[in-house]
Symmetry: C2
Subunit: 214 residues, 2 copies
């Protein structure tokens, strides 16, 4: 498999964790939007939308991180990233969708660029924007996790699930955009448990071949 | 089943279509954010996040429209809203996630309210904002659909799937926020095919009991 992605992309980060947890080897192909790689003809031939990640599995091309992860779950079910019970699966998916649908999309580089370049918002307003939406989402997640007997070492029980795959990258991004995450003890405890696992650590932005720090 | 929702919510609209296509009866409980219903104690007791929709299935409470629809698919598989083949499922989910993750979250009432009230953007800028993000997403969908032999009467083949459940409400919302959708012939053709089905028509905002037009 080939994963077209870049170190700093949180959607890519989710897929890297999934691949690692399932023990799947993949070739890392760097597509760095900061260098304009995503709009080069060779990448647009792979993914005409010019966004990352894209997973190529044999002759199959897959886009959208959550669709990729569900595909991996269906084709390589062991170890599972979703529980077996439909109601528990719904809980995990709902926890995953808070970052995926309510936080990440409002804080992507292209939204922030639009706010700065087209709407003329300054750096301070941009930080406040990130803090506002990240704060709402993290507050929701903290409450959902604290309210449920299903919360364990991880978001759901004692093994990582899709919910953790979305939480950890969102905490990473939040720090990049200078959101204070100190008031979410449950999220931070779960993040620590995740990052103690080699599969998560190997997926971290700083450990990718195209990271400036690597 | 009880569906806490409101006529104008596109995430609610998705779930209404799913319930109708699966032939599931449900009680419509109106939670109208424009009247502040979503922040009343009786609703916060059901969904502490104060967002819609929430589905109550027996004693089970489910949130997040996509998680609800996947739950319905797993517990009431007939008729299916996803194809059987994992790669085709991934295509349908990816098509669904363009509106769900790249368009809807950036155009929700709470984001628009924040732009207007906290960032002082005027009505014209707000319309341009909707047009910008809806245009990008619809352009992506139009290209993805035109590029694939899997596209049929509907987004995927000749029966409605999760992709159509997300597309049709997004076209509805786009018109509400004054986005011009006339340059997406494939999307409009599929919308017409969907709205020819009674299950879609019964889910339309204007046909809900809390719609001003009903």
């Amino acid at each position: 498999m080939k994963l077209y992605n870049t170190y700093i992309s949180s959607a890519s980060y989710r897929v890297r964790i999934a691949l690692n947890l399932k023990g799947l080897e993949y070739e890392f192909v760097s597509v760095n939007p900061f260098k304009g790689d995503n709009l080069k003809p060779e990448y647009l031939a792979v993914n005409p939308q010019g966004v990352v990640p894209t997973l190529v599995d044999g002759r199959r091309t897959l886009t959208q991180s959550l669709a990729i992860i569900e595909y991996l779950e269906e084709t390589r079910p062991d170890p599972p990233l979703l529980p077996a019970d439909p109601l528990e699966r719904a809980r995990v998916r709902a926890l995953a969708l808070v970052p995926a649908c309510e936080m990440h999309p409002i804080n992507t580089p292209r939204v922030r660029k639009h706010l700065a370049n087209d709407l003329g918002l300054d750096q301070e307003t941009s930080i406040a924007w990130g803090g506002h939406w990240n704060g709402l989402g993290f507050g929701t997640l903290e409450a959902l996790l604290n309210d449920s007997p299903h919360t364990g070492t991880f978001c759901h029980g004692d093994r990582p699930t899709l919910a953790d795959l979305c939480l950890v990258p969102q905490l990473f991004v939040a720090r990049v955009v200078q959101t204070d995450v100190s008031s979410y003890p449950t999220l931070l405890r779960i993040e620590e448990a995740c990052l103690a696992l080699p599969e998560f650590r190997a997926a971290m932005p700083e450990n990718q071949p195209d990271s400036p720090s690597s």
